[in-house]
């Protein structure tokens, strides 16, 4: 029996795709940066089928690329020549929801929004939330340790997971699908697979934490002289609200202006132009008092001069309008021509210094470049994006990608920061690992890879340089 026949026998003929047309959507990624190829795409329906697929690949020495919703931004799910893509899309059952335990058990192929919905149905919150939530899958969120807008209060995906079920590179199934809040019995294996981008095993199911659903939300937009003021307001809001700040997003003047120019619904709520605006959102399952808490923080900030102006959303429509300012930035950047992107993080308290160092450095290196530094300042995570000079040629500008990366990443690394805060490494930043990770750290990672996947079968060519 040929390999393809064997694979088809495992998943059923309809779930083994191997024509160019059928495979096409699995071979490219979101931004079109990478085009892969594969021997086939298998869509298993059970963990046992995943294990059988892996064993068949071991026997035939075939590489395996696990794939969830294929919404990643670093090429981590794009297959290379001769690999089998294992798509988790049919592993899409919510196995259990337990509102007493505040846990949910989901298979890897569940779309993130469906996990959120299942939690909401029992009055709970699954707080992971990001742009792709309508199509990304929870297994991919786990494999990339996805970030998003709720990290400040609830942590990264890693912090939301209690247990995992994983098919290992030799086809064994590790059943670590535990719903335990405390378990000190040996090495923590789940944290190895979370964020490993499918290079150590194929996550097939998970137990995640749920939280009480918020019943009050308070949202404000604050006009600021500089990013340091944002941190002062964040600290004050954390203290005043019982740590209920669930979003803290910075937008520079230019981000607001290009939004107004290109994105319907974006408008400046302030009379005067301010160099920075900050979106602050508090939410809590304890009803009452949150708006007052936020208002008193803002009043104090205005009186002390930390803030220049502020608006508090008085309705859900007003709240949506304020969020639109933040959400409009990447959309508007696309309309402004080429963008060179940096998904960087430093210690939260050092974000102002990072922006202050990186901005003149890139402006000096590429006159006319427009810095659009925005995003999750509460996590120390800034999308330090560069829009092309007005009127420049897009291709000419994009050709500076590596040079701009070098300038920004060198500064961030010098500050003890991360050159990939939330998007991961994949293929896009693999070469950066060689530059910014110590030899000691790379050696530790290689030893782990060799220990778990000695044949290098899983997702070759990703993460490790």
């Amino acid at each position: 029996m040929s390999l393809l026949d064997q694979l088809a026998a495992i998943v059923g003929p309809g779930n083994l795709l191997n024509t160019a047309a059928d495979m096409a959507p699995y071979l490219v990624e979101e931004r079109g940066l990478y085009h892969g190829s594969a021997v086939a795409v298998a869509r298993p329906g059970t963990t046992a089928e995943v294990a059988e697929l892996v064993k068949a690949c071991v026997q035939d020495s075939i590489a395996i690329v696990p794939q969830g919703g294929n919404t990643g931004l670093c090429g981590g799910a794009v297959p290379s020549d001769g690999a089998l893509v294992i798509s988790t899309e049919r592993l899409n059952r919510i196995r259990a929801v337990d509102p007493v335990d505040f846990t949910l058990t989901a298979e890897a192929g569940c779309v993130l929004a469906s996990v959120q919905d299942a939690a909401a149905e029992v009055g709970c919150l699954f707080p992971l939330s990001l742009g792709a939530e309508g199509s990304c899958r929870i297994g991919g969120n786990l494999s990339t340790n996805a970030g998003g807008v709720g990290v400040l209060r609830y942590g990264n995906t890693r912090d939301l997971v209690l247990g995992l079920e994983v098919v290992l590179p030799d086809g064994q199934v590790w059943n670590g699908l535990r719903a335990l809040r405390k378990d000190n019995t040996g090495y923590d294996l789940k944290h190895l697979f979370v964020g490993a981008e499918g290079t150590l095993g194929i996550i097939t199911a998970c137990v995640v934490k749920l939280f009480p659903a918020p019943r009050e939300t308070a949202t404000a937009l604050v006009a600021l002289p500089d990013p340091a003021a944002a941190l002062a307001i964040l600290g004050a809001a954390r203290r005043a609200s019982g740590d209920a700040v669930t979003a803290c997003e910075l937008v520079p003047r230019i981000g607001l202006e290009i939004g107004i120019a290109h994105v319907p619904g974006v408008r400046d709520p302030f009379d005067a132009p301010h160099p920075w605006v900050l979106l602050v959102e508090l939410s809590s399952s304890r009803p009452g008092g949150l708006k007052d808490a936020l208002e008193s923080v803002l009043t104090e900030a205005l009186e002390s001069g930390t803030a220049h102006d502020a608006v508090l959303a008085q309705s859900e429509d007003q709240r949506r309008a304020l969020w639109k300012i933040r959400e409009g930035v990447p959309e508007a950047q696309k309309k402004e021509g080429g963008s060179i992107k940096h998904d960087v993080a430093v210690a939260t308290s050092r974000v102002p210094e990072m922006i202050a160092r990186c901005t003149p450095a890139v402006e000096a290196a590429l006159p006319g470049v427009r810095v659009v530094a925005f995003g999750h300042i509460g996590d120390g995570n800034i999308h330090f994006n560069l829009s092309q000079p007005v009127g420049a040629d897009k291709a000419w500008f994009i050709a500076h990608w590596e040079r701009m990366n070098r300038i920004v990443h060198d500064i961030v690394a010098d500050m003890g920061g991360s050159v990939s805060a939330e998007h991961g490494i994949g293929m896009l930043k693999r070469h950066e690992m060689a530059r910014y990770k110590s030899a000691t750290e790379l050696e530790l990672m290689r030893r782990i890879k060799n220990a778990i996947d000695p044949d290098g079968r899983l997702n070759p060519g990703k993460i490790l340089p």
Copy 2:
């Protein structure tokens, strides 16, 4: 130069202990279950000295046992023949406290209470809190992933750490001392060393998260018909308080009674005897409203019959008195003769079932045994302790330790639980690993151990069976 001379040259002669008298406190553990021996005890003052010590041990093929405050309960820090103990006690500097960043950088030998104090000085909370906090050291807390009473709201020690500095088994220093909230650049190494009980590396420093200091606390003792009622109240309190429940501790009737009998200050605040009492504490940095929230939860519970009675602390003295009931249990158990202990966890929602299954099983196997099942029900973590039958011989009772363990642990394992929720494995539960971990999981752990510490130099004889 002899090995001892070489080691003394690294740390200074006064910091290399090798007489029996000097070494004695480092060779025994808290409960006197294990007595170790060592070639010497070294007390390095810097990370570089730790690295030099390790290199010297590599050269002379000497095993190494890292030790913090030596307060562990599983023998994890007790050395075996011929090993060098590396005590972290002189690595006791708080390197940085950053209230804007909400982080603190501490060396491994800092006593936990001193870390708490340093956070409090800047208006912040370091939430790790446990009985030994006056003498345990943060490096030991990290190496054992310590639990304690704040886990429900803030997580285990693992969840509080952002970065680590670790001396590896070959003497290299891994500098992962980052203060980043987001960093998706390869495998998460810090989670490997946290909870590894010193078998993969020697943690020398850490960056931990801080939180806004609480400004309001609401504490109640609730009388309950059964443990299921405790979970109903926990869920309602989490929802009503904006997830501000910071402690949820169950005490059975017998726990209260032996407390009253043996521990000064313990008294029953209720008129009638109730089968269970629950200590619930809420705390928040947002002042105002927490007591009302708790009161409305309790009122509803009393009206629905979920709770039989309740008292809300009206002063700090009353609060201390309620806590005394919980804290008095282990103290009282000592006075009641022998105790056979189980530090187990199941999914929070299954605690009632676990208690209902384990209790008759041990009572049938050892007539007269008194089950004292108490503790962190909010984490699913119950100290399922057994007091000897009244009037029994202590030694006779303790001789049933293994038999009782087997009964309780078999039931807990059958329920997908953990046989060591917060205390770790050390030597005490090493044999349980062989029984309760799957071959797949043990193999993964062994591969990791071999990959990072191929010579088995670090803390031999711990964790892995």
